[in-house]
Amino acid sequence: MVTPTILLLSRVVSAVGILVHISLASSFLGTIALALLFEFRYLRGGDVDYMKLSRKFAVISTIIFGVGAAYGTLVEFGLVTVWSNFIALIGALALPFFLELFAFLFEVVVLPLYLYTWNKVKNGWVHFGIGLAAGFGGFWSAYNILAVMASLSMLPPGLEIVSLASVKSSIGGAITYLLEWQKPSDLFNMYWWGANVFIFHGIFAAVILSWSIVAGVYIRRYLRENDQMHLKFLKNTSLTIAFLTLIEGLVIGHYQGELVIQFDPLKLAALEGFFWSGLKVDPLISFVATGTFNHPFWGLFSWPSALRPPFYVTYAYIVMMVGFGIVLGILTAGIGIYLLFGGRLASFKLGWLNALGPYLLKVGQYLIPVSAAIASIGGALSAESGRFPLIFVSSVPNSAGPPTVTGIPVSAILNIDLSMPYWLAALLLIVELSIPFVAIYGIYLYSRRSGGDAQ
């Protein structure tokens, strides 16, 4: 029997688990990308510092991958045991899961090869190619899993919800919803335009988050040791993070917003804080979304309370994601410009940035990783809690009122036999939050053994 308490505890336990897994997966994507970036620079210029950085991030990415893969198994079994009625829906989503397997194989088989063949393959570009294959595995894996996550927020074209519940039927007394494609070839709509916007939003966020965390650590070490290797790292990454944040916010974010307006106006109302009933003009959002100042939007209270997402998503979106995203962009742009063009800033009448630079570094060592983490968590909460209480969301126009928002209730995919006492939820949370420390500890041991540099 699904009670509100069991549903809430299951959601909290699952959300924390998935967030931690996403953090580990993001860190893998970011660190393998760093390893490849620096190996490329080493091969092009022969700078040994880049080789050391590359090797270091290759090892770190492998440690993170190991812990992340184990954590993925935990999340997977969490799905089977806690959200078991979601599994029946996976049949319709089989293609991305099937293709993800190849990506996973790439990662698990090629990543050790990449590590093993350091200094053993005479042609450095061949080794770089092996690394590219390992990196491709990681990004392809993310691409497919994010395609599935995108379908939860926006029902892909051609996918239809079969509600057994609406005719008081079920399969085996447990499964009350199924998914069906209008025709088999529609299966490829898992990768439709909207899904790709969602996917690249996620992949950019992963790289921004992980690079920001590493940048924080490297700024700190640069301030302490004032050495060339840390400076080279920061020169390569700071402005790149700022650029990626800009693309994420202004380009991909814009398309994402358009999709939310089209597919889930209820989510839009919750995210933007449209705390009214009926249609009302919001000039700012109207301008951003349509280029005019007089477009009306349905307020959150136009829909019944049982359908509305939790109120905290407004805060998660505006303050956490957008606010801290802007802070991150400004900080990394400032630091990047200061480090790259410090000596020449005065000639561009930007001499004041030279005075500000050291202060930005001092603040940035803490604020860059913290801003990235808060923005990422805010983004995840906005995307996933913003569609609650539904998954596979879509909306249809309604001449008599606000668009009708439909989907599968989250409560319908919960295991109806599950028991989730408070102590079990607390225990699971403790374990979920402590496992990432295995990765952190592993990286710490490696860094200590190698004296901070890969030997």
Binding site: T73, V80, I87, A92, P112, S170, G172, I175, L178, P184
Partner: protein, 412 residues
């Protein structure tokens, strides 16, 4: 034209056949390492400690690979037989939960601790930790084997007609009763014994190939002893399992023995007829076991790399044939309905209802209900060819990486 049931069975069997030898090795090594270290303490010979370390290094690589293929099996199950996996997840959730708590949450961090405490903790404490890890890792097969026993003989299940159910009935399982399944204990014990015996074979193989290391002689000796002691124990418990299968799981028994079991009512032959006649499979396993025994006895006296390769190949083939045969013998069923249940359903609800239940439990039903993947595969054969080529490529790569890991560790 490839049917969804064939696609599902083939893909799952492939992943299973790669997964099983790897996890057998992990389980066997986890049980062996503490005792090797204990032997070192008792004898005062430090070579035992070096041997333990080299076994651990190999175990880590195999654990990672085995874990990946375990994930692949779950994805195949969820993607190809979603309703089956869904119902299995919901009915047996405490079993899955316990397996994952033991397998991931407890075992993995403790393996990290075990690695960090080599030669830092006293041997007594380190050995105790090793034994705790072995026990927690054994909970994984202890739970998963319950699911296997359940699919062969769904003990503790009640079928309740439900007109509102799209399949015409509801299923309910008493998880505690499910542990009393007569197939469960022999299956679990044979798994543990087989894994230790198989590990012995792999140790004999590995340390024969790397015969230049100082502890390779010890590794060969321990490996051959493990295989010679636990191999016969596996044979006994496997025979016990087959006996219980003969009594309780008509389709599997028919498939593996080549004829219907004597206790099966001939009226039900049409219901329980298997897809494959695998009567050659137990014979093949027995012949391979005999070859393996001869090879092990030879290797206890001689160091011969070619013979060691034969030992490894025969060992892997034996494990895969035994496990793969057991899996494929279920077909056409995903869950083989017990004869007693069939008779009871016929008496209580009539033959039509009993046939509905039996049909629902077949792989073809469970695989086709929602299986868009097989439709796509049939429309785009290139996808299938590409997939097969990729899987073969990765099989070779997996072996290559394990070989490199062995080489790496032995030269370090």
């Amino acid at each position: 034209m490839i049917g969804s049931a064939t696609l599902a069975a083939d893909l799952i069997t492939w992943a299973f056949d790669v997964h099983i030898p790897l996890v057998y090795t992990v389980l066997g090594l986890l049980w062996t390492m503490p005792f090797v270290e204990m032997k070192g303490v008792k004898s005062g010979n430090t070579e035992y400690f070096r041997l333990t370390r080299s076994m651990f290094n190999y175990m880590i690589v195999v654990y990672a690979m085995g874990g990946v293929f375990g994930t692949i099996i779950t994805v195949f199950l969820a993607g190809l037989m979603p309703v089956f996996t869904n119902l299995a997840g919901y009915m047996l959730w405490p079993v899955w939960a316990l397996a994952i708590v033991a397998g991931v949450l407890i075992t993995i961090p403790m393996i990290g601790l075990y690695y960090r405490t080599f030669e830092r903790w006293s041997h007594r404490r380190h050995i105790a930790l090793g034994l705790i890890i072995a026990v927690s890792a054994t909970i994984i097969p202890a739970m998963f084997r319950l699911v296997f026993a359940y699919t062969a003989y769904p003990f503790g299940t009640s079928v309740i007609p439900d007109s509102s159910s799209a399949i015409g009935f509801d299923l309910a399982v008493n998880v505690y009763t499910a542990f009393e399944n007569p197939l469960y204990l022999p299956l679990f014990l044979s798994t543990v014994f087989a894994s230790i015996a198989f590990t012995g074979i792999m140790m004999l193989f590995g340390y024969t190939l790397s015969s230049n290391s100082s502890h390779s002689g010890l590794g060969r000796e321990i490996g051959s002893r493990l295989a010679l002691v636990f191999g016969p124990l596996y044979a006994v418990t496997a025979a016990w399992y087959l006996f219980e299968v003969y009594l309780h799981s008509p389709t599997i028994a028919w498939s593996l023995f080549g004829r219907p079991p004597s206790n099966l009512n001939s009226v039900l032959y049409a219901v329980y007829r298997p897809v494959y006649n695998l009567s050659w499979d137990p014979y093949a396993v027995a012949i391979l076991a005999a070859v393996e025994l001869a090879v092990i006895l030879y290797l206890t006296r001689h160091t011969n790399r070619a013979i060691a390769w034969i030992s490894a190949i025969a060992g892997i083939a034996m494990v895969d044939l035994a496990e793969g045969g057991n899996l494929l013998a279920h077909l056409p069923y995903a869950v083989v309905p017990p004869q007693s249940l069939a008779v009871q359903l016929i008496h209580q609800y009539g033959i039509t209802f009993a046939i509905t239940v039996a049909k629902t439990l077949q792989v073809s039903t469970l695989a086709t209900v929602l299986d868009y993947l097989s439709i796509i595969v049939n429309q785009m054969p290139l996808l299938l060819i590409f997939s097969v080529a990729m899987f073969l490529f990765f099989n070779v790569l997996v072996l290559g990486v394990i070989y490199l890991a062995l080489q790496w560790r032995s030269t370090k």
